[in-house]
Structure formats: C-alpha cells, structure tokens
Subunit: 470 residues, 2 copies
C-alpha cells in the first residue's frame, strides 16, 4: 500500500495579501474549486493502492486541515501536528515513524501541500515508476522536466539509468544563475527538484539514522510522547524542538548513495509567487486573469483579483498584479512580486496584523469577520457550523448583543439555555458566562455587536471548550 | 457690496471612485481640511465687502451644501436649488434675479465650487481689478495665465487695455490642439478660460435679454414661482426645465461687446482629473502622494489614496493612480485617468450603483453605511447628528434591531417613546411606525440589523419628515 504524506507546514507569505500566517497558500482556492491542499489530497487519494493520507501540519492550522479534509470527504489517515516548524526532514521523520508503527513495510509518497499538477496522468505514471524503484530500496525524488531556465529552483543531475524510467542521482545543485540554468536546460539531463519523494518509510528511517541521527532521535522522542487530541496527533513539543532544523535534501537525499530520480513532465508548478499563478492560470486574449468583480479598460498581462462586495477598475495598466482583500490591497508590477516579502517584513516590523490574519478569522466552530469597529464598539458577523459550539466563556470588559440572521442558535447565558431564531436577539451582559451552539443542520449566522472599553480578542476566559483550546 | 455666487451644480465623475453622483468633486476633501466647496466659500467670504454667499446647487445636494456651510460657520446668503441641470447660464440667471430683487445695484462674483486657488492674494487682487471694471459696466471674466500648453481648456485672447489691469476680450477660442496651444503660450496674450466671472447682476440680466432671451424668460418664470423650503429656495421646475441648456460663455460672453478679461496667475486648478490632483498636491521625494494607510516599495510618480480601515501596498509601480473606497478601487495609469469616464459609463450601462452612491450615504439627519449584507439581512452603521431626526416611517418587508453604541437615541416605536443609551438595544417589528431622534449634543451612533425578505431602500413609508422629504 502507498501512503500519501502531505506536508502542509508552509507558512508562505509570497501570496500576501491573500495568504496570511494563519491561512497560508496551501489552504487557498487559487485555481479551480479546491484549495491546493485539497487538490493534493484528492490527487494522492486517487492513486492506485493509496492508503488514507497522512498530513503533517502546524498546530495553528489543524482545524483548517480537518475542515478541508471533511469538505472533500476524504477519510483521514492521521493529522500529525508539528509543535514548531523544523523544516521537512523532521516532519517526514514523524510521518515515517507513524507509518512503520503499524505497517513496517509501508511505502510513503511525500507531497508538499501547495503544488499544482496539471497533467495527473503523467504524475500517476511517474508514481508507478518511482514505486518500482522504491521496491528496490531506492529513495526516489521526482525531477520536473524544466521548461525554461528557472533560477529559483534547485536542480537534480541524473546519472546512470536504473530502468523503470528512473536514474541514479548524480548530484543535487543549488539554485543556479541564469547562464548555468541555461546550460542545464541545454544538457537535457537536469531536472527541477520538486520536493516530492517516494520511498519505503523504514529505508528513510535507516538513512536518517546514518546521515542525520539527531533528527531521527528527536523525532522518535517526540513521537513516543504522542497524544491523540480529537482527530489530531500531538507529539512532544520539547523533544521535537530539539531536532536540527533541516530539509530532507540536505539531511538525507544529498548524502545517501540510494538517491534516485524519476523525471516527469506533469504541468507542475509550486505557485511560488503571484506571477507564477498568473503564468499557470487561464487568461483572456489580452493576457489578463480576472477574478471577482473587475471592470477594465485597455489592460494587458495582468492578474486582478477582487474580493467580495468590492469591485476593482483598471485603466491603461499592463503587467500588474492587483489583489484585493477586505483589509489590504496589493498593487505590484508582475516582475517585482518577489518583493511581497518586503511588504510582509514591513508589516512585521510595524507590529501590525495584516500578515497574520485575514479580517475573517477561521475557528474550529466556524468563522468571524470584524465588519465594523469604532471607539467603544465592534461589529462581527459570526458563522457557526452545524453541530459546532463556541467555548463556554466570559469577558471582563465587554457586553455583547447577538442578533441571529439565519439558522437557529442555542444560547447559554449564565443559568439560562434557550434557542434564538432568525430575527431574534439577546443580550450577554458583561461578566456573564455564555456559549453559542448550533444544534441544527444549517449554518447559524449572527451579528454580534460588542460594547465596551476594551474589545481585544484576548479578553476571553474559556471555561470549557470542545476543541481542547485552553 | 460684492455677492459671491458659488456654482455647485457639477456632478463630475472624473474623480470616481471618490466622487459619486450624489457626492461630486466639490464636496470632497481632496487637499487640506475642507472640501473644495467650503474652500471656495471661505475664500469668497474673506474678500473685502463680501456679502453672504449665494449657492446654486442641484436639489439632490441641498443637504450636503447646508451641512458643509454650517460646518465652516459661514452665514448663508441663499441656497438656490436647480430642479434640473441646465448648464451655467440659467444657473447664473437665477442668482442674478435673486440678487437684484433685493439690491438692484448688486455686483456678483461667480465662482465654480470645485476650483483650487493657491495664491489667495493674487486672487483678491484680480477681484479688485475686476470690480473696478464691473463698475464701468464690463462683464469680466478671469483669465488664468497659462503655465503650459493645456489642450483641455478654452482660451481667451485679450484685446485693448481697459486700464485697471484688465483688457477687452478679443475672442474666446475652443480647446485647441497642442500646436495651437503652444502658439498661444508663445504669444503671451492668451489666458485659460477659468469659468469665474464678475459683473453687475443687472448688466448680466440685460445682456441675457439681448443675447439669450429664452434663458432669461425661463429663469424669470422659475424664480417667480420660488418657494422657501427650510433654508432652500426651490424654483419652478417646469419653468426652469424649459430653459435652453447653455453655458454663460456661449449664451453671453462670446456675444456681448462688453466682455473684459482680467489676467491672473493665482495657482489655479480645476482638479479635472486624478492626474491634475496629483500635480497640485504636495509629493514626497519620489514624486508620490500618499493618503491614508499606504506601504510602498520602489514606487514613483504615483497618487495612492487608501480608505478607512484598509491598507494599500505597492511594489515597483510608477505613474499610477490608485484610489480606494469601501466598495470600489481604481488602478489607472496616471496619463490615462480621463478614461475614468469610460468606467463610469460602463457602470451606468450595467445598471450598477457604484457611480451614484458611496457605501456611506449622507442624509440630512446624518449618514448610514451598509457594513454587511447577506441573503436575508443587512447591517448598517447609522450616525444621527445632534438635534436631528429620521422621518417617522415604517417598512413592509423588514424588521430592525437597533443597538446604540454611542450617544443617547430617542426611539419612537408605535405608541412608545423612550431613550436608548450606549449598550442598549431595541427591536422594531415589521410594520411598526418608528422614528429615531437625537436630542443630545453628541452624535448618536447605532448598529442596525435589518432582517427580512426584501431590504431595498425603497421599502420605506415616510409618515412625517422634518426635512420636507416626501
């Protein structure tokens, strides 16, 4: 059985303002109907003999992972929570240890959660070839046939053929300069290092033991302390934090003598920037990609993305990226989008929030959106999923008014519990213990008006929480 | 006495998305602390011997005019309402008739409400020279010394000197092509036609009688039917509508033999586009003008205007105009901003609203802002000015929840009248007769949650209204 392992640890800021620290690229719906994470899961799940996917993600993203898996109806193998980011080698080590615990012969297919693959048939064919090599104890990496001399990726040089359409790895090379990249392209034996791997879990563990024993021992210790928390597997934090911070390439692939590469041309993109999203997106006859409510005059070569309830008008512009969100709009020259990082750095330095959260914040029970704010008040639209409940809580510095605008909410307020229907309201006095629950089968939407001298998210005392949040 | 007459009839769409049909350019605060209209009033009011200003504006803008006058504390001469736009000649005719009714010898200074004048001393000096010529029965136009060969304005060629630093008008010329404009600049005897005039009201009426009797008779008939409505003078609609639609230039100035021009160089701009606003605004060392929350990297020659609670980030762009509002964002090349008109036309054709109203809508009693909207609900932030009251009203298709977040509101709901304080709420059932009033000295702010199947602004039955709205 082939076990997909989806690495969802990225906190990419390169698609800001759409990506935020608490909602990175892999969870965004950029092309098509699903997020990149969901597409990755669905693609892996459809492979022959695929087991239930194992996801490795950051603690902060666990509810998003759970919800996105549920939304596509894919049975969940395991969701391993990284207590802290330690790069790919420790993350893959956790997954390998988890797999061999129940299936010593497990083969794992490691897939970053944020890649786009257009030609699924070619991908499946490559997986089949890689599986054949993994059966012969090779650690296989997928080498993307380069279409152009990209300087932003590492390259893999192939050596001797191993049959099965695979090759021994001759060497890994760092991101080259343009002339070197052009040379690689001309030679025809170099491929982009995609970050996708296929190997027996035990073989990977053995190679770790040889080349990166510190990572293995940290992962073992962390996994030994693993505790189930709802659908999640929470490993030992301090033990995991003790691991060296290293990529699988540095820690294992560049050192092992069992590295193989399977070349593949499958319409692969890591969507590493707004310009690469533009490059893979369908565009109109003027080279524009529009999403949402866009009205344009004489616009060419641009990516324009409007957000809900807002329109964007463009006139006479070319090769721009314009991305709108409820609290921030980016306007960048398409060939300068790598500097989105500079903007994010500026936001960090200024102690701001726009790189951390969207105005709409996702929670395990649903989401809230801060639709208005004034000196002593804030207005939120709150959405509670069927069967979900907010924590039993109280606030020291604010009272709340709730008006249900759709669905039926069950309200707890001190010693009273009652239902609130559409067009009904209630008042939660300052200091009262309250909870909001959705026992129905439809979403509950309500408007919350907060009134008080201090309205920060940290004025919350959680007395009880079904999601294990302290 | 010199009577300033401020023409505030413009419905300019050239500064969209900041200007909207119900809030045109003259009412926007573009530079400094006041709107262009307020600046115009203040500038006129500070002239020696100036009477209380007479404003001519569109019916729809009357409350904004009243409010903006009140805000700057300038005593209001009269606010004449144009029932329909008929260009400048009929508007000035109304003002002239109004002035001579009480002061046959009145001299009037006609000023468009949407011009910027930086050098007030030079302007005052020109007004003094023009007054001297008006005393000699000249109809004086102000000719702006051209700084560059602008092709977007008409020009005035001067003839013989009349003394007082004024000249007879030799001829008016239409917007020239570039070569012609360059020729005018070189000759040194041409000036931009500013649209500002100074003459005796009766002289203007006499010239109208001679050259545009249709306009005069329509204006006379309309003014004869004038009715006071609060602070406003409402003239006969049908009578006024019967007037030819003509500018003062075509109707009078180009035909009379008493046209004079006073050349002036006073830092004048009509802010006819975003690029001309950029040109007159203070800019940083990279030629950028930023307003609001803007973060930029390698940006030059641009005008960037963020709106409340939203940031704009720019990277690597040059010579752009980026203007954000709560419901629409414009991104245009600075030399293409005349095509804003094309966008507005597209909005009209599509039957949309973004060229008509801002999300925040001003009313005589204050304003409301539609902060959120869903399938069967809408959330508004409502601000009621001290002493103001909404109409006594009811709705057929929606109920409303009101939560006061600042100030004290007096609520009428059917037969009950009560005060609602900060952090208090009430419910207005569907069909009940209600009113909101602010008897205090502070603003009342409240959040209104509407619930119902239809939430359009037209579901309102007004039973009583202190502002005379039907």
């Amino acid at each position: 059985m082939l076990h997909p392992v989806v690495l969802s640890g990225g906190s990419g800021s390169r698609l800001w303002p759409l990506s935020r620290q608490n909602q990175p690229k892999q969870f965004l719906t950029l092309i098509g109907d699903h997020s990149l994470f969901q597409e990755t899961i669905l693609r892996a799940n459809a492979l022959p003999d695929a087991g239930a996917p194992v996801t490795v993600c950051a603690e902060d993203h666990r509810f998003m992972v759970g919800e996105q898996l549920q939304a596509i109806g894919v049975a969940n193998g395991a969701i391993l929570l990284e207590p802290i980011a330690r790069n790919t080698a420790p993350a893959i080590a956790l997954a390998a240890l988890h797999l061999v615990a129940s299936e010593p012969e497990a083969t794992m297919l490691v897939l970053p959660a944020d890649h786009l693959i257009e030609d699924v048939e070619a991908f499946r064919d490559a997986v089949a070839r890689a599986t054949a090599l993994a059966d012969q104890d090779w650690l296989v990496t997928f080498g993307i046939h380069p279409d152009y001399p990209e300087t932003g990726y590492g390259y893999i040089a192939r050596g001797e053929s191993l049959g099965e359409g695979g090759y021994q790895v001759s060497r890994f090379v760092e991101k080259p300069d343009l002339a070197t990249a052009e040379g690689y392209l001309a030679e025809g034996t170099y491929a982009w290092n995609s970050g996708m791997f296929l190997f027996k879990a035990q073989r990977f563990i053995d190679e770790l033991a040889r080349h990166a024993p510190g990572i293995l021992s940290a992962a073992r210790a962390a996994y030994a302390q693993a505790q189930r928390d709802l659908d999640f597997i929470r490993v030992g934090k301090e033990a995991f934090a003790a691991s060296p911070n290293d990529s699988i390439d540095y820690a294992v692939m560049e050192k092992t003598d069992r590295a193989a590469v399977v070349p593949v041309s499958c319409g692969w993109s890591d969507i590493g920037s707004w310009s690469s999203l533009w490059a893979v997106a369908e565009r109109d006859e003027n080279g524009n990609r529009y999403e949402g409510d866009v009205i344009s005059v004489d616009t060419t070569g641009s990516l324009v993305r409007a957000s809900e309830r807002r329109m964007i008008a463009t006139i006479g512009v070319e090769d721009l990226v314009i991305v709108d969100t409820p609290d921030a709009t980016l306007v960048a020259r398409k060939d300068r989008v790598q500097d989105v990082k500079t903007i994010v750095d500026k936001l960090k330095q200024a102690g701001r929030q726009e790189h951390l959260f969207h105005r709409k914040v996702y929670r395990p029970w649903g989401n809230y959106d801060s639709i208005d704010m004034g000196e002593r008040f804030q207005v939120k639209r709150i959405v509670v999923k069927p069967g979900a409940a907010l924590s039993l809580q109280k606030h020291h510095k604010r009272a709340e008014h709730w008006i249900v605008v759709s669905g039926v909410a069950e309200v707890t307020c001190d010693d009273k519990v009652f239902d609130l229907h559409e067009n009904e309201s209630t008042y939660i006095p300052l200091g009262s213990v309250h909870r909001l629950r959705n026992n129905g089968t439809e979403l509950v939407e309500l408007i919350e008006v907060q009134s008080g001298a201090y309205l920060g998210e940290d004025d919350i005392v959680r007395l009880e929480d079904v999601y294990g949040r302290s």
